[in-house]
Symmetry: C2
Subunit: 373 residues, 2 copies
């Protein structure tokens, strides 16, 4: 029998699950938000993922439900579970990824290293936190943020008045502004029966809150990979995550390894695995949510460098520039998400692999330059 | 703009073009023979590829027409070209792959090394050829053969009477029975503007006329790779092949390198490239037929071994056996074509990569054993 995976959400993460589904002979069906979504090829339904009836109808003929994003409401997730559907990751785990306050509470409860944090409800609370943390802090809305949205650096107690007014009783998360050497990401996959596999720790470079580049493995990381791998495995297991878990980390200047964010799905910092690992994060996610044995996540080359491609004002697509880009970089892998180009929107990525870090980085950046807005 | 490739035929070769199409952001549409074909996910039409009106309607909105097989009639190919469609490979090149007598004529005319051959119309002609070649020969129907079908070893002049009666004026191809050390395959890709790229020469093992295993690169090949690469490049260029060209070769015991067959499409002997080469044959075929710059065909590991999976009498599919197979071989890549299992039918393949030939072969064969009929 051919297992059927249903993916809620039709973005590029769902799109990138399609190749390994075809390879493994797993059927994949997507509930997309709109016609012409990035994952349109596999879309069998178009509808609103916040509507329980829509999602239940989509789930009727699939063996497992999984996600392109973390925004499906708990009420809808609960309806799926109540109707007897396998849902991976499950509602409990997803609740931690959906709410940054819950995330901080749970991570703190399990003793995972996180930045100092608090929940504030008014300017006085924020003022107190600022006083205790050198006059600067990061304020985050508990829900709905991504790619830097819903995150603000503040230095005055009135700098978050608008968000505080909108936040209501729930309040806002406020965190110490971590002075970090660099950002890292540790991805693991876990299947319901408990097996966990970890990819190498990677270094990520963010620009304007958006992932710009990923270096796999993280250069000169010393004992950090062992520490991060054990930490991510513990988080995945204790939160009961199924599928891919991305743990975004700070390497602080004072030496601390701190958890910044969690994502419970394939993640931008794992796109390099398509071309640089024996088992990509997308194949591993499919295996994990189907509770199949996980694949070997070992890298296939000493270095893999991924550079994101963002849309620009001209609306040019990546394929428009393929004649020049492919000719000058025959060894680079080009990924275009089939999305309309808009300024700042992630429309694709390139990955280079090689044996020398500097050469590989130059190759990836050189290829990406052809697509600069 | 997103280029659109139209593929005639919905088999596993069309299916395996879908992942690189998604990655590159190239739209792929398939004209499948039936519902539920291997490439059903990308099928936008179901119809008869021998019907010009069906094929012309399919081709209307694509930028280039290419193929899952070589069986589209010349009349239909001609109609496509007359209507102004880009067709790759083109009708002239395909005519050579469609007819084994034409193939022998053209290869002989260009001085490519081939087994001794002749065209026979009757038992007397066959008797004369047998007399000249030690009493044994291979008889082939000019058209329609694949996977050992349409090929017969004969040792008596009446052994092909049935085929001769059916062959009519065209006659049959008769060839020397080559005493070979092993079979090899050289794949290249060529784009219309002339660029050619070659993968490493591989060794292929056939069982009952069907490809069973492929070793990439061909072990202990001495100067053969250079010879085969130059030969395939010459054939591709002189025949004007566009897309992937597979040159199946004999390494004869007397040292000759002889062309056995040609295929003008991705080929079973190139499936290892999906997991073992920077640019797979399927991605390269898409690039080539779109006249985009070709990718680097270098291998990503010292050895890649592919083992075909054939269907058995139980009708079990590969995914039925994934729980055991994936657990015991986490580093092997599993490919299932989503086809109904029938005895002897190609339903999938596995590929292992590694640094030691024996270990890699053992790994691929061990993984394949889980799917033995």
């Amino acid at each position: 029998m051919c297992p059927v995976v249903g993916v809620i959400g039709g973005g590029q993460l769902a799109r990138m699950m399609v190749p390994p589904a075809l390879e493994l002979g797993v059927e994949i069906r997507v509930l997309a938000e709109v016609e012409g979504a990035s994952a349109a090829l596999a879309a069998t339904a178009i509808g609103d993922y916040t509507d329980a009836a829509t999602v239940l109808a989509f789930a009727r003929d699939v063996d497992v439900v999984t996600f392109d994003h973390e925004h499906v409401p708990q009420s809808v997730l609960g309806a799926l579970v109540d109707a007897g559907h396998a849902v991976h990751p499950g509602p409990d785990a997803l609740s931690v990824a959906q709410d940054k306050i819950v995330m901080r509470e749970r991570l703190t409860a399990m003793g995972a290293p996180v930045p100092d944090w608090s929940v504030v409800h008014d300017a006085e609370g924020l003022a107190a936190f600022l006083d205790d943390h050198g006059g600067r802090a990061v304020v985050k809305t508990p829900r709905g943020g991504y790619d830097g949205k819903g995150v603000r650096v503040v230095s005055g107690s009135r700098d978050a008045d608008d968000w505080l007014a909108a936040a209501g009783e729930r309040g806002l998360l406020v965190e110490e502004l971590v002075d970090f050497r660099r950002e890292l990401a540790q991805l693991v996959a876990r299947r319901p029966s408990g097996e966990v596999r970890a990819w190498p720790l990677v270094e990520t470079v963010q620009r304007d809150g958006v992932c710009a580049e990923v270096f796999a493995p993280a250069p000169s990381a010393g004992s950090l990979p062992a520490e991060a791998g054990a930490l991510a495995q513990r988080i995945a297991t204790q939160l009961g995550v199924t599928g891919v878990l991305a743990v975004e980390l700070f390497e602080a200047t004072d030496g601390r390894l701190l958890v910044n964010e969690l994502a419970m799905r394939p993640h931008n910092t794992g796109h390099w695995t398509i071309d640089g690992s024996i088992t990509s994060q997308f194949e591993q996610h499919l295996r994990a949510v189907l509770d199949l044995p996980l694949g070997d996540p070992s890298p296939t080359a000493p270095w893999a460098i991924m550079v994101n491609i963002l849309g620009g004002p001209t609306g040019a697509t990546m394929p428009d520039r393929y004649p020049m880009a492919l000719a000058s970089h025959p060894g680079v892998k080009f990924h275009s998400y089939g999305k309309q180009s808009r300024p700042g929107r992630k429309v694709g990525h390139v990955t280079a692999t090689g044996t020398d870090l500097d050469d590989t980085r130059a190759m990836a950046r050189g290829a990406a330059q052809f697509f600069e807005p």
